[in-house]
């Protein structure tokens, strides 16, 4: 009986010890990790919408919604965090800045696991610029040269990534419509 019990006890002891070490490390780092996440999100928001002096949270169909206000409290625009599914390696989370007229003013990809050199190129300014300032209800992805205002040229070898980003931006535009529906034209 002892021969069978000792290995079990040792394994149990190892597991308890390791759990204690991991719990301790978590205790030391959990706050910093959460702080990092919030900080990087806030920083991205400020970069996307420099005219806003502060942001208030709101609720729409988007994952996260922020209304950008200037010093006088007037709405400058909106920032949405939305997720496009169907990327090459899963979801692509995009933060989109949309002005009060519903036009995209900028976007950043804040979470993705796309391939370096292919899908990751969606982070490049050249690609993201395509979405900015276009007066269209929704964007679509095309492989060749775009012919209409709402057409986005897909990244070479990364059509799935392009589609996921576009889906996220379209979700942001839809969320913007939900908010501005009640606002009078400026």
């Amino acid at each position: 009986m002892k021969k069978n019990l000792t290995p079990v006890m040792v394994l149990f002891a190892v597991c308890v010890a390791v759990t204690a070490v991991v719990a301790f490390a978590d205790f030391l780092t959990a706050d910093k990790i959460e702080e990092n996440a919030r900080e990087s999100e806030t920083q991205t928001m400020r970069e996307l919408m420099p005219e806003a002096s502060n942001f208030t949270e709101a609720s729409t169909s988007a994952d996260k919604t922020y209304i950008g206000l200037d010093d006088s409290g007037k709405t400058v625009g909106y920032v949405f965090v939305t997720t496009g599914t169907g990327g090459y390696a899963g979801d692509v989370v995009v933060m989109t800045a949309i002005d009060a007229d519903g036009i995209v003013t900028g976007l950043q990809i804040i979470e993705d696991e796309e391939t370096q050199g292919l899908g990751k190129n969606a982070h490049n300014e050249e690609y993201r610029e395509q979405y900015v300032g276009k007066d269209t209800d929704a964007y679509t992805v095309v492989k060749g040269e775009p012919s209409a205002e709402g057409e986005i040229q897909a990244l070479a070898g990364a059509t799935k990534t392009s589609r996921a980003v576009t889906e996220a931006v379209n979700l942001a535009k839809a969320a913007a419509k939900e908010l501005s529906g009640g606002n009078p034209d400026d």
Binding site: V8, V14, E113
Partner: protein, 223 residues
């Protein structure tokens, strides 16, 4: 002692000679900087787990050694992951899922089995350090080659991207296998070859895959 340390750098380089941990190697090496991040994280885990397992080698019974080793390794990887997420976020982003996957990186479990469980603490730590440095060197070399030819940059700095069209194939899987094969050939040449006996191969009898291995069942062993 020094020999234990330098062993892992070329003669028994875990990636190019022992051919361990090939999955993260192929996936991570699309850029040189990725190799640095992964190499450092893996080395940290390797040194810590080798030390811990060596300390406990007389205490952990044979029957539960694999679950015990994996639990210890997983514990260290989790701690490293938390530290990276808190203090080195950029590494977390580039490594993505391959950071937690260090738990099943064969190099770590392999060295625990082959070395740390049979040797005292200081040699085990040196072995871990040497193997980690060898792993990092292999990753950075492979990453640099693939990045330079496949994207025209090196450590993110544009070198040829402006003038020569990069061969994207090199940052895709086929390119990875090709560069990997070439580096293995080079490493074999530089270290003068060597037979499997030196690596502590236990022969077919001790190998967990013996039942399904065609070589073990059909022909002789691999002594």
């Amino acid at each position: 002692m020094i020999k234990t340390f330098t062993n892992g750098i070329l003669r028994e380089n875990p990636t190019l000679r022992l051919v361990l941990g090939t999955c993260p190697t192929l996936a991570i090496t699309t850029a040189a900087l990725n190799g640095v991040g992964m190499g450092i994280a893996a080395t940290l885990v390797l040194v810590c787990s080798n030390a811990a397992i060596s300390l406990l080698r007389k205490v952990i019974p044979e029957q539960v050694r694999i679950p015990a080793y994996i639990t210890i390794i997983a514990g260290f990887v989790t701690v490293v992951q938390m530290l990276v997420k808190a203090y080195a976020q950029s590494i977390d982003e580039t490594l993505g899922i391959y950071l937690p996957l260090i738990v099943v990186n064969c190099i770590i479990l392999g060295r625990a089995e082959m070395f740390a469980s049979k040797n005292p603490v200081l040699p085990s730590v040196l072995d871990g350090l040497g193997m980690g440095i060898g792993f990092t060197a292999a990753l950075v070399t492979m990453g640099a080659i693939r990045e330079l030819i496949g994207a025209g940059t090196l450590f993110g700095i544009t070198v040829t991207a402006g003038s020569i069209e990069p061969m994207v194939l090199f940052i895709l899987p086929p390119g990875g296998f090709f560069v990997f094969g070439m580096l293995i050939a080079l490493a074999n040449k530089l270290s003068g070859g060597g037979n499997k006996k030196e690596f502590g191969c236990m022969g077919c009898a001790g190998c967990p895959s013996a039942k399904t291995c065609s070589e073990a069942n059909g022909g002789g062993g691999n002594e």
